[in-house]
Structures are given as structure tokens and as C-alpha cells.
Symmetry: none
Subunit: 428 residues, 2 copies
């Protein structure tokens, strides 16, 4: 196989993937593992369990690719067609493969199962195929070279594919003499749009190095910035780009890798030996839930309050009935009293309080759906801000929960600057 | 377009899908929606943001398919190529589309955003293209017929694709003169395993009609049972199967369609004019959050308490310090007092209280990770049960939150029978 410009294609098969009953996560798993060797996937095709179509697709792939990974269709039932198709495309017969038979016998013996005819079908492989070990399941993988294209057939069960990929990737690394190095640096941001970030980078870093590929992945609530390099020589350039992004967007960068806002906040609380409490109306427990998903969160988070009704804001958090009557539940005054009430009842160092109109109902001309007040801070310094974020209910809850956590992150870091989204979303 | 044998192909684009950074769930969503019209997807191809390759694939698809749905590449950045590719394949220029401009203007105005040059790129569409409305995002969808093939281009953001598909499916149903009849009946269940359900159905309904295809989709926490028919004549058989499943698994069936446990609980509360409160330790606000995701949840849910530490269980919910010291936080006595404390403080009719060890740390020989106590009921009748559910932290939280909601659902329905998972998971 050639090295740098290896043409890799994936052929995925299974009626359950075509119908949408199953979401295909296998091809992402394969791509990520190949990515560790800086090998990209050029193209992938997914079809049902259909002999003529599978034959046509695999034939076309073998003519254009250096490596094809087929996933699925190795099982014992009649709709498992992969061995048959590969044999037809290679122009060889199916044969009982002694190693595959031995694997099946061991697999059944270990489980006190009788080796039946359906299982034995899994030992019928294209003549000349080599076995790829399956440490988990009954179906072995197998590979065969067709023309100049190496074809590797893998099982559709994710738990069987995963360990098999270890062997395949190690083998590829050895054949390509490529060390297994990670060459993607990911930065997690909140409050930056993809197009804004792109625009700012284009404007401010005109000499962006070609060796560092820039990518974005917009999620809710976080947006990921990716800096990919394809060889170790570009590592310094990658670090310089990271530093430049840090200067441009510093306070919007939460951390590297998979860091979430909740993780970062809990980390900062731990460093300071401090605790946080939450008083949630429109986010309804989402902030608390995101914090407590993180292992070890009990250190920095002891108590949260979901106060959905006015009566509960008063009885549980001590928000004054006058304040509610005068300003309404979605107001600066109410979130400030919610934050203070939560701080006191939880004996916590920091609080986030939110009250807003998540919709679809409950909006008015003065306070439309999407209006929200957030208060955050400690006993001596509670800040508050009104925003308007008019999006679908659950997205609204996700973004506001993130904004609340972001405010605490900023306070803990001593960042005084306001985030960009405050400018765009403020109501006064 | 021809009817029954419509050749439908999907073209998915995005470097983040090819790299495996993102798992593509959009194609499953599209396939499921087309499945409602008994339209199957013949073939799908996924490639990166690569002009020659995208052009080649789309050209080939237009020559063999009746309908191509393109997903992704509608955004504002330079790697969003779909409009450009479709224009090239159709042999028409890109033009500023007035409706797309109007959509962008409205979209920005509603959000107080400035319409920038990057955004305006999203209004440059192939000449002759018709707009497909995007009720959520800035990028409109669009469609164009190339030769005899209809090409519809849709956004890659799942939250934008979902509502757009409503319109596309309705339009297809009208064009194909196919009534929008649901021929898939979906039952949501909780606490039933896929293989258990399959085995029980095989044993108890030996004469299952061939015209009704049985399918399962295991999710966390719910498992969906699907009854698919391919023509209206089988509707009676489908209804009979539904009734038989209701008899077999009745109390484990939450509802039809996409019903979630939280939705069903809120519906039952509304019918009874009752309210629910939550006292959460190990689920950390997840139950409250799932309830408040549902529009209108404020009617049946006013207050929730996240009491993560012992001190807070005492100070906020009134759990006695003696009880905590004697039995530990994960105990029947503590969850009972949590439930009573929450009922009183929230003036609610029903309560769920949970306390457990979500892990990975905090387990002991006596109370290993996965141990949890759940209490549920009203002032006059609090029940409690200890379970052991030793799975990964966030899955544990998901399953326990669901179990709590399921208990309230059962009480509200007057189901006295215990669910199957109590037998499998009980600790005493």
C-alpha cells in the first residue's frame, strides 16, 4: 500500500441502517481510529442487504481504492452476505476456513453452546482470505486483496468491531511504518458563532500556516475549534495557532479536548475550595443535572433548587411576595433574590439563578418568549443581566444553562470582560 | 415521480462526519420519516467537503435516482459547498435568491444580529431552485430538478433538519397521492429488555400475523416496539397485535409514538389536577430537568430539590441527622424522609426521592456502586425500594430517573403490580 495518499473507502451494509432503525456509529469509530494514523476516509457508501447492489458497490470500490473496510453482514443469518459478495467480486469460491471453524468451536465450547448449521455458515470464507481475529464474537473478520485493493471485512456489532480495530490499526501502522501519534488539538468554546470565529481569524491572522488545518464543529451549547496537523513537524505551528486563538478568543475558550462548562466550573471550584448552588426556574434543574453528571461533583456542588412557581420562589428561596408582584417572576429583582436565597440556604460560596420564558407559551409583548434574567456571584457581589434568546424550548434551556455556568467560570477566573453574546442578546 | 419503486438516494457531506468526530444521525432521521410513507432508501453515500468528489457523486445519483436528498453543507463558511455543487451538476449559475435573502433578514432581525457577508453566502442558490422553508435556522433548504431527478438540499444541524422534514414528507405524500397514514405503530416501553420481549412474544403469540412486521429499538431509558404494515388492509391485524402486546406487557407500555415517561407523568398529573415534587441526590436534578423540558410542565411541577450532601438533606428537606448517621444517606429511611420533606415544602401531592451511589467512586462492600433507594408516593402512602443498577454513571442516572418517573406513573394509573426490573434489580 502507498503511504500518504492512501485512498480508503468504507462499505457499510445492513437493512437496519438503511431504515434508520439503527444509527450507524461504526463508521465514525473506524474513521477515528484511522485518524490516529492520519489516514482519512475518502468516501463511504451504505446499502441494504442486497446482492446486486453490494456487488456493484464493492466492485467499484476495489477499482478506485487502496483499502476498503466492509462493515456488517458477517452474522449467521441469510441476510448476512459479505463473504459471498467478496468471493464473487474477487472471482473465487467460498470454502470452509479451518481457522474460522476452530474459532467457532472454541467460541461455542466456552459458552456451552452447540455448534449449529447457522453458525457454521460463518466459517465459509472466500478462498485465499486471511482471518482477522474477533476476540469477542462468533464471526471472525477476514481480508483478501482484490487487484491492488486490500479488502477487510468487519462485524457490525460495535462491541466486536472495537477490539478488532485495535489489531487492524496496529497492523496498518506497522505496514505504513507510521507512529501512532495524535495530531488534532481541540479547543472548546462557548458564546462564539462559527461564522464570527471564522471571520475574526481571517481578519486577524492573515498568515495562518498552511500546515495547520482549521476546523469548526458547532454544537449546542459549545463550539469546538479544531487544529489538525498531518505530521509532527507542524507541531510548533499548531502550538503557535493555539496561542494566537487564545489571545483572540481567550475568555471564550473553556478548555481543550472534551472539556464541558460544567467540568471546568467544578475544576475551578475545587482549586479554590469553593461551592456553588443553583436556583433554577426556566432551566428546571438542567444546570444542576449537568454539574452532577460529572464524577466527583459532590465536592463543589451540594444543593440546587428548582423553583418553577411564584409560590415556591417565595416559600423555598425567600423571594419577597412584593418583589414578585411588582416586577414579575422574570425580572432582575427576582433573580437577585433567588440567588441570595439559594446562597443562604445552601451555605454556598457562589450561586447561579435564572428565570425566563422558555415557551412556547407564556410570552407577552413586554417579555416575549426567550426573555431571561440571570444572576450570578457571591454574597458580596451579585451581578445580573437580562437576555433575549428566542429559540426552541429545549435549546433555550441548554443555552441559558450554559450561559449561567459560563458566568461563574468567568467570575472564578477573574475575567471582567463581558462575553460577546451579552452584546448581541441583551435586553437592556 | 413514480410511486412504488421510487429510487431514493442520500448524499451526506461534511468533514466532521468523515473524520468520525460526528456520528451521522441525520440519515437515520430521514430514512425513518420516509419509512412513514413506505419509501425505502436505496443507497447512501457520505463524502467530505470536496468539490470534485461531491460533483461526481451527485452527478451519478441524478442519473440513477428519482429523488436525492442532500444533507449538510448549507452553512456560511467556505467549506459549505452544496449550493455550488448542485448548480454545477445542473449546469446553472448561482444567483441571489430573494426569498432566501428575506429569510436571512428576518432571521437576523429577530435575533438583533447584523447580517454579514458570510451569512449572505447562504442566499446564493442555483438558478431555478425553489426554497424549502427552515423554521429554525438561518440557512434555507432548496430543491431543483436535474433531468428526471428531484434534488432536495437540507441542513446538517439536526434541530433544523427535523422540522424541515415535516414539510418535505407532507409534500412527498401529496405528490405521490399517498395518504399520510401512519403505517408504523410505535409503543414506548420502560423496563423491558429487547430479547426478553422478543422471547415472550414468540412464546405467547405463536400465530403472529405475517403482515405485521415486529421491530425493536433499544434506547436508554426507553425501548420502542414497532409494528409496521405495508398496506392499509393489514391495519386490523396491526391493531390486534397492539392489543395483544398491551395484554402481555400492559403496565410496561408508557404510550404510543414518541411519548416519554416525563410527558406521560405530566399528562396523568394534569388529568388528576395533581402536582409532583422531586428530592434528588444521585440523579442530581435530572428528573426535574426531564419534567421541565416538556412544554406546559409548570402546571404539574412547581418545585424540585437537589440535595447532594447530608447537611443539605437535613437543612433543606428536614431529614433527621439521626437518620443519616444511623442508616447512611443511601437508605430506605433517608429517601422516605426526603420524600416527606419535599412533599411538605412543595405543598405537592406526589413526590419522588432518590439517593444512591452513581460512581465511579463512593461504593463500599455493603453498598457497591449502583446501589440506590427510591421512594415515591403521596403523604398517606410512601413506598420505597432498594435497587442495584451497576452501570456507568450517566447511564445509571438516566435509568434511575426513569425508574422514579415510572413509579409515579404506575401509582397515578393505579397499577399495583411491580415492574419486571424490580425483580431483577432488587437488593432486598
Amino acid at each position: 500500500m502507498r503511504d500518504s495518499e492512501l485512498n480508503v473507502q468504507l462499505l457499510l451494509t445492513g437493512n437496519e441502517i438503511m431504515s434508520g432503525d439503527t444509527v450507524d456509529s461504526n463508521s465514525a469509530m473506524i474513521a477515528q481510529r484511522l485518524g490516529e494514523l492520519a489516514i482519512g476516509v475518502y468516501r463511504k457508501v451504505t446499502v441494504g442487504d442486497d446482492v446486486p447492489l453490494l456487488t456493484q458497490e464493492l466492485t467499484a470500490m476495489c477499482a478506485s481504492a487502496d483499502l476498503v473496510i466492509v462493515n456488517g453482514g458477517l452474522g449467521p443469518t441469510i441476510d448476512d452476505l459479505t463473504a459471498e459478495i467478496l468471493a464473487a467480486v474477487a472471482g473465487v469460491p467460498l470454502q470452509e476456513h479451518p481457522e474460522a471453524v476452530a474459532h467457532l468451536q472454541q467460541w461455542c465450547a466456552k459458552r456451552n453452546l452447540h455448534l449449529n448449521a447457522a453458525n457454521m455458515k460463518q466459517a465459509m470464507l472466500p478462498a485465499g482470505a486471511a482471518i482477522v481475529d474477533n476476540p469477542v464474537g462468533s464471526a471472525v473478520g477476514f481480508e483478501l486483496t482484490v487487484g491492488t485493493c486490500r479488502v477487510i471485512c468487519t462485524p457490525g456489532v460495535p462491541g466486536e468491531l472495537r477490539p478488532m480495530l485495535d489489531g487492524i490499526v496496529a497492523d496498518l501502522a506497522a505496514k505504513l511504518q507510521r507512529p501512532m501519534e495524535r495530531n488534532i488539538l481541540r479547543l472548546q468554546t462557548f458564546g462564539l458563532g462559527e461564522s464570527t470565529a471564522q471571520q475574526i481569524i481571517t481578519d486577524k491572522i492573515p498568515d495562518w500556516p498552511q500546515a495547520v488545518e482549521l476546523g469548526f464543529r458547532a454544537g449546542a451549547p459549545q463550539m469546538e475549534i479544531k487544529l489538525s496537523i498531518s505530521n509532527a513537524a507542524a507541531r510548533d505551528a499548531q502550538q503557535r495557532c493555539r496561542d494566537q486563538l487564545q489571545q483572540l478568543f481567550g475568555d471564550h475558550i473553556i478548555g481543550e479536548g472534551d472539556t464541558t462548562l460544567a467540568q471546568r466550573v467544578l475544576e475551578l471550584l475545587r482549586e479554590r475550595g469553593a461551592t456553588l448552588t443553583t436556583a433554577e426556574s426556566c432551566t428546571g434543574g438542567l444546570i444542576a443535572s449537568q454539574l452532577t453528571r460529572v464524577p466527583g461533583s459532590s465536592e463543589g456542588f451540594h444543593a440546587g433548587f428548582v423553583t418553577y412557581s411564584n409560590a415556591i420562589k417565595h416559600s423555598v428561596l425567600g423571594v419577597r411576595e412584593d418583589t414578585l408582584a411588582e416586577h414579575g417572576a422574570v425580572s432582575e429583582e427576582v433573580v437577585r433574590e433567588m440567588a441570595l436565597g439559594a446562597l443562604e440556604r445552601a451555605s454556598a460560596d457562589y450561586a447561579i439563578a435564572v428565570s425566563g420564558i422558555a415557551g412556547p407559551d407564556g410570552g407577552s409583548a413586554e417579555k416575549p418568549v426567550g426573555t431571561v434574567w440571570i444572576a450570578w456571584g457571591d454574597r458580596d457581589n451579585i451581578r445580573a443581566r437580562g437576555l433575549c434568546w428566542p429559540v426552541e424550548r429545549t435549546l433555550f434551556q441548554t443555552m441559558i444553562a450554559a450561559a449561567g455556568l459560563d458566568m461563574i467560570r468567568r467570575i472564578l477566573l477573574g475575567v471582567e470582560e463581558e462575553p460577546r453574546y451579552f452584546g448581541q442578546r441583551r435586553i437592556r
